[in-house]
């Protein structure tokens, strides 16, 4: 193990390390902690310029209550759910199939198709912006959740294919050969042999894509406009325009907008990190 484990060091270093951890963590998260503090301060604190002093009273319920009851926030959150969940399902389903095709079969064009998916996944969004917006307008899907979902599914398929194909390639190929010898059709091999083994990959991709899409801002402002279809990342900016300079409310709103992927991360941590660090170890 590197660096030397602290339990092998003197007690001074051991306890020093344990004491240092929370201090460093607080410094690391300070900007966020500041916002969390703002979000439970009452309006009067800001009026009297008491920014960092002890809050006059705790306004947790008032602030968060207003975010949920007095603004469009719940609608934006719901929009985010209706954009994110179908995208996750669509991209994972499509990439299970493309990953299977590129990971199991060895055909000449395979590697080039695979590279096309990988390259497409890295292009700057701006090179797609004008044509995709045009395409969405032509299909009558501008400013709809469906239009946004279709694009996200297509784009995420690139990354998901990279992920799935590498995962499937590492599966024991002998199992598939054995099934073929038994005369099992290719479609049944996909469904009954390979798919059950892909569960960890599916879980990892699902949480990753959930976070990516929930946090998307660029496409949200390119393809949607109002509270009917905009996700919460775009909604928070309108929310802030509505409550300009009301820092306690803007802070509470930001925390609400950030929370779902955070909860997802803590609930599915193992899968999330497995997905994110794919390829970091040989």
């Amino acid at each position: 193990m590197f660096p030397v484990p602290v339990e092998k060091s003197s007690p001074a270093i051991r306890y020093g390390y344990q004491a240092l951890l929370p201090v460093v963590l607080i410094i690391w998260l300070l900007p966020l902690i500041a916002v969390a503090i703002f979000s439970i301060k009452p309006e009067s604190d800001f009026a009297s310029a008491n920014y960092w002093g002890w809050p006059e009273n705790l306004a947790f319920w008032e602030n968060y209550g207003l975010v949920f009851a007095g603004s469009d926030m719940p609608r934006y959150l719901l929009n985010s759910v209706f954009i994110t969940v179908p995208t996750v399902i669509g991209a994972v389903a499509l990439s299970c199939m493309t990953g299977f095709a590129l990971g199991i079969y060895k055909f000449k064009a395979g590697i080039w198709i695979f590279f096309l998916f990988v390259a497409g996944n890295f292009v700057p969004f701006q090179i797609l912006m004008v044509p995709v917006r045009e395409l969405t307008l032509d299909m009558g899907l501008y400013d709809t959740k469906t239009g946004l979902v279709l694009f996200h599914v297509a784009f995420q398929t690139g990354f998901c294919t990279l992920f799935m194909r590498n995962f499937i390639k590492a599966l024991p190929y002998a199992l598939i050969e054995a099934a073929r010898v038994e005369g099992v059709s290719e479609i049944r091999i996909f469904w009954y042999v390979v798919l059950p083994m892909m569960k960890p990959a599916i879980a990892a991709l699902a949480v990753l894509i959930f976070t990516f899409i929930w946090n998307d801002y660029f496409w949200a402002i390119v393809l949607t406009q109002g509270a009917d279809s905009q996700p919460v990342t775009a909604g928070i900016t309108s929310f802030n325009a509505q409550y300009r300079a009301a820092y306690h409310l803007m802070s509470a709103g930001s925390i609400v907008a950030a929370l779902p992927p955070v909860m997802m991360f803590f609930a599915m941590q193992k899968h999330f990190i497995a997905g994110l660090t794919l390829g970091a170890v040989k």
Partner: protein, 309 residues
């Protein structure tokens, strides 16, 4: 090897029907079809369409007028374009600091003590939050009247500095905000990499008297190469994709000094300054070309690994 269908096992039914005989050549195409169709329609074709649009003057509504290379010619004399390009270079260079910073935090956290897993998760936290929220958090952090940043430099008798309102500091200020989640990402890559470092090599190094920096440089870092490679790729892509932070924190200001190509393109094509699709597409093409250098490098490396593996 799977090009030719596997010979059927003895005793199995002889193949009947066209599908049964050809399914191994057809199956990959069938499985690819839906995903590939989507990807072609929404990603591959639009790249070429953008190239095409960049030769037109078009407001997104009326007739598009073919203008040849005029958009590129205009870019050549556009100061805002050079400001954006310059800022892109600054982003690329400074953003790379996320890699050593991530490694440093990973080394700090690579211990087995009480609650260390929770600490690792909490350090990773900034990466999970949306960039829009990171942007808001940091615009308040930098706020000249109540931001913690100015409270802090005030302790040394400095400031207050309106970081986001000052053209000298604005780009660096935004990059610092971007480094926060990016460092967390690099940290998690290195933590995973450190987990897989071969303990025997470390022991061997120790016996040879390697310690501290020398151990890190000669024994540990070579083993972290895959993690470093991924960290490089995601950091460079992240730097060139920077849009959310700029859009929310400064909207390109003050006086357009914090623009990067990705943001300037959006501004030209879709903001209140006008709908110049062709000009925007030309900027996107330049950005795409820059990105293509890295994409080609990445693909080349993947191709080499494929042939070895």
């Amino acid at each position: 090897m799977a090009d030719a269908a596997l010979p059927l096992a003895q005793g199995a039914q002889p193949p009947r029907g066209w599908w049964k005989r050809n399914q191994q050549t057809l199956a990959p195409w069938l499985f690819l079809a839906p995903g590939a169709a989507f990807f072609l329609l929404y990603v591959i074709f639009p790249i070429f369409q953008s190239f095409q649009v960049s030769f037109y003057e078009w407001d997104g509504l009326g007739e598009a007028e073919y203008v040849g290379l005029r958009n590129y010619d205009e870019l050549w004399y556009d100061d805002a374009f050079y400001t954006s390009l310059k800022n892109n270079v600054i982003w690329l260079v400074l953003y790379l600091a996320a890699i050593p910073a991530g490694l440093f935090i990973a080394l700090f956290l690579n211990q087995k003590v009480f609650a260390i897993r929770l600490y690792k998760s909490l350090f990773f936290f900034p990466f999970v939050i949306s960039q829009v929220v990171v942007a808001l958090v940091f615009s308040w952090f930098y706020d000249p009247t109540f931001g913690l940043f100015n409270e802090f430099i005030g302790l040394f008798g400095l400031g207050p500095i309106a970081v986001l309102g000052d053209e000298r500091y604005v780009t660096v200020g935004i990059i610092m905000a971007g480094l926060w989640p990016q460092t967390a990402y690099c940290m998690i890559l290195y933590l995973t990499g450190l987990n897989a470092v071969d303990p025997e090599q470390i022991e061997a190094g120790r016996l040879d008297g390697a310690k501290g920096w020398r151990m890190l440089w000669y024994v540990v870092l070579p083993q972290l190469k895959p993690a470093t490679f991924i960290a490089f790729v995601v950091t460079i892509i992240g730097a060139l994709r920077s849009f959310d932070l700029i859009s929310v924190m400064t909207n390109g200001g003050p006086f357009g000094e914090s623009r990067v190509l990705a943001f300037y393109m959006f501004e030209v094509a879709l903001s209140e300054y006008g709908f110049r699709m062709g000009y925007g597409a030309a900027i996107a093409v330049i950005l795409f070309m820059i990105m293509m250098i890295y994409i080609a490098f990445f693909l080349w490396k993947m191709y080499r690994d494929e042939r070895e593996g």
